[in-house]
């Protein structure tokens, strides 16, 4: 009974909206927004098929491509976050204790400003004649615009920037628990710097790395600010597609179906993680 309030909160804030989305995905769209209370699988059919001019159902890879691209871009952004985030977390770990909290504080500062504003800043950095191009143009190193905006690269950079702290924090949390004497022990046993990293540090902070990857990968899949602003809305990602269905296309059931697809992808990822974590626990014995 003591848990009733938390069930209530979880129910109101998490389960009910999800159930509503699930129900909506099986209804028909109302052209003026919202849904008609008529059952239909049309939204799920639309994920993979379309009607040609003669009203035949034919396979349409368009949305699948967007989904595939979303996974690719999210994967790329996660990898970039890991490449940039790990050294940052490691560096902070090696600082004297009183300075570490200050650095962690710095890592969280971007969260104080709206993501939309910060993503606009990247337009200024990457854009035509922007912060990167202007000096290069002035110095005569390049003659024309680098055309960095509205590319997959720009989206990946935007996503990486947005979610980098979510990679740094869990990795730092697991590195902080790392016994630095183990590094001495490894170097005493003839491990060079590279081997200390690959044989001791990375295996021991694997839980943090996995947690960071999940925390970055999942919101990347659903992101729409960076794809819309930096991809120019031409390079759609799953998140921006969902947003488009609700805000502009007035096809709520299709947006809901896309959300359900996203949700199942996330759940599958988490199940894999939970399995791997359990296996590791069994292997290492719960000491």
């Amino acid at each position: 009974m003591g848990l009733a309030p938390s069930y209530f909160v979880i129910g109101i804030f998490m389960l009910v909206p999800m159930i509503i989305m699930g129900v909506f995905s099986f209804l028909e769209p109302n052209p003026y927004g919202g849904v008609k209370p008529v059952g239909s699988l049309a939204a799920y059919v639309k994920l993979f098929f379309e009607y040609d001019l003669e009203d035949n159902l034919v396979f349409n890879p368009g949305y699948l491509n967007i989904i595939l691209r979303s996974f690719q871009l999210s994967f790329g952004a996660t990898l970039l976050c890991l490449i940039f985030g790990f050294p940052v977390a490691y560096y902070i770990t090696l600082q004297p204790e009183h300075r570490r909290n200050f650095y962690i504080y710095l890592i969280t500062i971007p969260f104080w400003t709206n993501l939309l504003i910060r993503t606009f800043a990247w337009i200024i950095i990457l854009g035509r004649g922007g912060v990167i191009e202007a000096p290069l143009l002035a110095a005569g190193i390049i003659e024309d615009s680098l055309r960095m905006m509205y590319t997959d690269g720009a989206i990946a950079i935007g996503l990486t920037y947005s979610y980098l702290p979510l990679m740094v924090l869990p990795i730092y949390a697991s590195l902080e628990k790392l016994d630095l004497r183990l590094l001495e022990a490894a170097s005493d046993l003839y491990a060079n710097r590279f081997e200390i990293m690959t044989k001791v540090v990375i295996p021991l902070c694997k839980p943090g790395i996995i947690a960071g990857c999940i925390l970055v990968f999942i919101p990347c899949l659903g992101a729409f600010i960076a794809p819309n602003l930096l991809g120019g809305g031409k390079k759609l990602m799953l998140g921006s597609l969902v947003q488009f269905q609700f805000a502009s296309a007035r096809n709520w059931p299709f947006g809901a179906a896309l959300s359900m697809l996203l949700l199942s992808a996330v759940v599958v990822t988490l199940i894999f993680y939970a399995r791997a974590a359990k296996r590791r626990e069994v292997m290492e014995g719960s000491a």
Binding site: A185, A186, D188, L189, E195, E284
Partner: protein, 365 residues
């Protein structure tokens, strides 16, 4: 004697540029022989662990040289030095099995797989841990982890094995048992052991030679008996074993003996350790076990003095007696309980206190 490690004028200053500069080692020189069980002994903060870490390469010297079998090693990284360390808290890799921990060093040295497997089996047998090779450190007791740490450090067959208070985390019984085993292991492997401890009993029990350290300096180097019987200064005498200290002034001396006035007018004869003059203020020391206590009426020989029992501390196999010698002098002595288990003397009982002049030694003041 082949010298395994030669430490020449090594100084270590932490944070030399800041106002928290701390001199952990001050111009320390000592030589450790090949195949020797050498102990660095001292209270915490004396610099013994710093010296060990300098040999291992975890810290950089501020001055001086460290030679390992005639090779200068101060500029080498820890992974380039053919020495291995047994860490105080073992520092076993928690994500690896016992066997993987032990083979870690050999794998980094790129030994062939067959040789690695054979060596792992050999050293695990040596430390009696062969059956537990598949366990992880988290599944082992403290004593077992200790053995794995030893095996891991011995596996690469280092030229010198460094042991940083390896027994301090074990309980008393296990600690005492491991003393014998460590000594045995050192003889069997023929590897030079450099052992750091603050426990004087451990040092006396295992070492071929001991360096007693204090405040970043070596106070005395010698065999356990030298250190115990002939400490060079008050610090060493006090740190090793229990001791009576008596402050006095030399009133006369010949080649063998000095006569000191202690207290107001008590005269004590002591062995002349040389270099003293009449009028010197000196400290005499006397080990409690060198004193014989007997009933007053059984006083034997010229070396007895009258005393009175002031206090008793019962220790089971013996009792420590504080004896009032008069003239403000108190001595601590030992006596065994009688066969019926009762103590031989009671508080307030008059005694004959006997010790020879050779047992009373002069320390430089």
């Amino acid at each position: 004697m082949t010298v395994a490690i030669d430490i020449r004028g090594v100084t270590k200053i932490y944070n030399p540029e800041s106002n928290q500069a701390f001199k952990a080692l001050d111009n320390v020189s000592l030589s450790i022989g090949d195949n020797e069980f050498f102990t660095l002994l001292g209270p915490s903060g004396c610099g013994k662990t710093t010296l060990l870490r300098l040999i291992a390469g975890f810290e950089q010297v501020s001055g001086g040289e460290i030679m390992l079998f005639d090779d200068e090693i101060v500029n080498l990284e820890p992974n380039q030095r053919p020495v291995n360390t047994v860490f105080q808290h073992y520092a076993l890799f928690p994500h690896m099995t016992v066997a993987q921990n032990v083979s870690f060093g050999l794998e980094r040295l790129r030994k062939p797989r067959q040789e690695i497997d054979a060596t792992v089996e050999r050293v695990l047998t040596l430390v009696k841990m062969k059956k537990l090779g598949d366990r992880r450190p988290g599944q082992l007791s403290g004593g077992q982890q200790q053995r794995v740490a030893l095996a891991r450090a011995l596996a690469p067959n280092p030229k010198v094995l460094l042991l940083d208070e390896p027994l301090s985390a074990l309980d008393l019984k296990l600690r005492q048992a491991m003393r014998g085993e460590l000594k045995q292991l050192q003889k069997e492997t023929g590897i030079t052991f450099v052992f750091v401890t603050h426990d004087q009993e451990e040092a006396l029990a295992m070492s071929d030679r001991i360096a007693v350290m204090s405040d970043g300096e070596v106070q005395q180097i010698g065999r356990p008996t030298d250190i115990y019987e002939h400490p060079v200064n008050r610090f060493v005498a006090d740190f090793i074993g229990d001791t009576n200290f008596l402050d006095g002034e030399i009133v006369s001396l010949n080649d063998d003996l000095v006569t000191c006035r202690i207290g107001a007018q008590s005269m004590y004869e002591a062995e002349n350790s040389g270099g003293h003059e009449v009028g010197d203020h000196v400290t005499l020391f006397l080990r409690p076990e060198k004193i014989t206590l007997s009933p007053e009426n059984q006083a034997s020989g010229v070396h007895t003095r009258p005393g009175k029992v002031a206090n008793i501390v019962y220790l089971g196999n013996q009792a420590a007696y504080t004896v009032d010698m008069g003239d403000g002098i108190e001595l601590t002595a030992q006596a065994r309980p009688r066969e019926d288990g009762n103590l031989p003397f009671a508080i307030g009982e008059p005694l004959a206190v006997g010790f020879s002049a050779r047992a009373l030694r002069v320390l430089a003041k």
